[in-house]
């Protein structure tokens, strides 16, 4: 094991160091508490054997620092020349794992190190498992926020991002734009070409939306053939420019759709604005976009509408 020995008495350091080296341990020594703390940070020992009273930083303070420090557990053995129960208790309470009483006895030290090796090993296993679990959890969280068909963020991701966006709008007085988009005559497409082809079309539209989105914009699959785009810190007008590009992009894919009057697969979109002064919630925001989308459908599809004003006046 890698062992840090902290003691201001050179005879104690030499005895412990000699005993440790016979046992095959790697040993670092510090002659005061401050140096011990620095060596702890730079050498990452697995075991610390520290005297109770040292200049600079006492053994108790050193132990407290080590316990407050993140990272792999270090087994701490407190060495004291006072056999008082109170002092040993205090040391154990602060976080020492074991104690030795001076004068140092090499055989005694060897016995303590057997326990130290066992506990250190357990902590290393725990650390390894914790890191593995953290990695798995991160992976699972990422997966749980993705739509498996399109790899877009799913409804759960939207929910979380929308709440964050709403909080930002309220706090900083930004405005933000949202588009609810769906595929025109999608039911007809499924009926004509089958559900597998329907899935392919959803994926193609998703890719097109992603491709046309700018950095900072976010695209989610809301459900079925419905998508939501969030345009943080954007007005209805700038949001509309982005969505217009998306609509044209899908049209230019030129996917045949016999159920559509154009003979092509197209999308419609409803836009809504979230701003601090309107006192709207995230739910109102989606409801407004939905109403605008309904309007776009009523006005002939392959177009963009907002509830307030028609914004599909762009080419």
């Amino acid at each position: 094991m890698r062992i840090l020995v902290a003691d201001d008495d050179p005879t104690s350091r030499l005895i412990v160091q000699t005993a440790l080296e016979i046992l095959g341990h790697e040993c670092f020594t510090a002659s005061d508490g401050v140096q011990a703390w620095e060596m702890f940070l730079s050498h990452h020992p697995e075991v610390v054997i520290s005297d109770w009273s040292m200049p600079g930083l006492t053994g108790l303070e050193l132990c407290r620092n080590i316990r407050a420090h993140e990272g792999t557990y270090a087994y701490f053995i407190m060495v004291t020349s006072n056999r008082t129960r109170e002092q040993i208790l205090e040391g154990m309470h602060v976080g020492a794992d074991d104690y030795l009483i001076k004068p140092l006895d090499a055989d005694d030290l060897q016995l303590r190190l057997i326990a130290a090796a066992r506990v250190t090993e357990l902590h290393q296993q725990l650390d390894f498992q914790r890191r593995e679990l953290e990695g798995l959890n991160r992976g699972l969280t990422a997966i749980s926020l993705l739509d498996p068909l399109t790899n877009l963020g799913n409804r759960r991701a939207l929910q979380a991002d929308l709440e964050m966006l709403e909080a930002r709008v309220v706090r900083y007085g930004h405005q933000s734009c949202m588009a609810l988009i769906d595929i025109d005559f999608f039911k007809g497409y499924n009926d004509s070409y089958g559900h597998l082809a329907g899935d392919e079309v959803i994926t193609a539209v998703a890719n097109q939306l992603k491709q046309q989105a700018r950095a900072g914009d976010a695209v989610y699959r809301y459900g079925g053939d419905e998508f939501i785009c969030l345009f943080p810190q954007q007005s209805l007008e700038t949001g509309a420019i982005a969505v217009q590009r998306m609509r044209l992009g899908v049209e230019n894919l030129a996917i045949a759709h016999i159920g559509s009057p154009l003979g092509l697969l197209t999308i419609s979109a409803g836009l809504a604005l979230l701003s601090a002064d309107q006192g709207k919630s995230a739910t109102d925001f989606v409801r407004e976009a939905d109403a605008a989308l309904y309007r776009a459908k009523g006005l002939g599809r392959n177009r963009i509408e907002s509830v307030i004003t028609p914004v599909d006046s762009l080419p």
Binding site: D8, D9, P10, T11, S12, L14, I15, T18, A19, E21, I22, D51, S53, S81, K102, P103, L104, D105, A106, D107
Partner: protein, 118 residues
């Protein structure tokens, strides 16, 4: 003056490690002990009883390590002397430090005798 059991344990440890541990400890100890006694005297002159007590504590630990049991005991008496910070007890501290210094000389001779014998 020196505890034979402690010394034989140390020399066994040293021979396991292939070093003259007792010789090395004796050298370290004497240098350290001289500076501790000097610090005690300075504490007396400067009317700083805490410095005396702290040095006595440090020297007690080192003495016990090398088996200088009597010296350790004299140091402990000085370290734990009641009312060390009361001015009227200054005389007690002075005589305590004198005992420590006298006992240290006995240890020095015993260590020297041991090294010439060994």
């Amino acid at each position: 003056v020196l505890d034979a059991d402690v010394l034989s344990n140390l020399s066994r440890l040293g021979s396991d490690a292939g070093v003259d541990l007792v010789g090395q400890l004796a050298t370290l100890f004497l240098v350290d002990a001289d500076s501790r006694v000097a610090a005690m005297r300075q504490g007396l002159v400067a009317s700083d009883p805490m410095a005396v007590v702290e040095s006595a504590h440090a020297l007690r630990g080192a003495s016990a390590n090398i088996g200088a049991t009597d010296l350790a005991w004299v140091c402990e008496t000085l370290e734990l002397s009641e009312g060390a910070d009361e001015p009227e007890n200054a005389g007690k501290l002075w005589s305590g430090v004198r005992s420590v210094a006298a006992e240290l000389e006995l240890v020095r001779s015993a260590l020297a005798a041991r090294s010439t014998a060994g």
